[in-house]
Point group: C3
Chain length 131, copies 3
């Protein structure tokens, strides 16, 4: 079992950031050449998805759709004013699992891994667990 952590500076209140290359590099250097990788965000206002990384318009469309689906102001009870971000995080999920072989992520042809920022800009940490 191996664990790695890295951090990302986000720039906007909401955006999807391609973190595939960073994770690729950890997997490439891993002493265990094959296994399962948990990509985990320990924050409550972010999500992790695996989706198309080839055309950045896909991530753009996903982000805009979620902004329209979950309004920022909506008579929420939580007093910090970011309930929309918590709701998006619950819907999207704060982790994804993927396998790797020969020190390579087992991604589909068009797939990449994204951090979904729902309440930025902030410094965010991502935890990887390889098993």
């Amino acid at each position: 079992m191996e664990t790695y952590n890295f951090s990302i500076k986000t720039d906007k209140r909401t955006e999807l950031i391609d973190i595939t290359k960073i994770i690729d590099d950890f997997i490439f250097k891993s002493p265990d050449t094959a296994g399962l990788c948990l990509i985990y965000s320990p924050h409550t206002t972010t999500g992790i998805i695996i989706n198309e990384a080839y055309d950045p318009d896909v991530a753009f469309d996903i982000n805009i759709f979620l902004n329209n689906l979950v309004p920022k102001n909506n008579n929420y009870r939580h007093s910090e004013g970011n309930s929309d971000a918590h709701i998006k995080a619950a819907i999207i999920g704060n982790s994804r699992m993927i396998s790797y072989f020969d020190n390579k992520l087992n991604l589909g042809r068009w797939e990449g891994i994204f951090l979904c920022e729902f309440d930025g800009p902030r410094q965010r940490n991502i935890n990887l667990l390889l098993i």
Copy 2:
């Protein structure tokens, strides 16, 4: 590999219940001190999320948002009258993964683990698998 099961009595048709303490206790006593933990609900009208546990208003807002997003009555085909609960379960997901070290869940500072009841009140079972 270890497996544990516990049950929860829910009180309302829809609510989010913090189950972090129960899972913490299993992890604390686990003979394997580090690994991956699958938190799995074997029901089709519940979900599992990891989100803010500090302010209970966050769980309240998530539950109300989902109730508004997925109406109880909507010309559904399924004759049992709980399609809304199945739909929410599909969107939220029936499991989450988390790592643990030194017999402690690797949760972020504000994170807790919640059972999402979408068709209660009922007795619900949660399965833990540690690997």
Copy 3:
């Protein structure tokens, strides 16, 4: 660690297809009798869910709800015309985890595993990783 792959021909633009039996058969023949199974779709316009398999109307209702939630045309930027499918895949997730014991999936009484096709009809591949 074992890996298996199988492919499914989908028939419609959007539908949920019960793939429980196929996965059951791989688990039944697995040399490792117990562990974790990752059910992973390497595509960016599909999802995997675990939900009720007993009454097919449940899968029908989930599919229709998602079609209404995420319109096919919505001033999306992505020029291929299938942003709705990418958005659904992000919301539902492209994988699920489940445990197995004695060469049997640890499914709840009413649960089955479904491939969610959001941009068919197509030939789709599913990857299983057993650990």
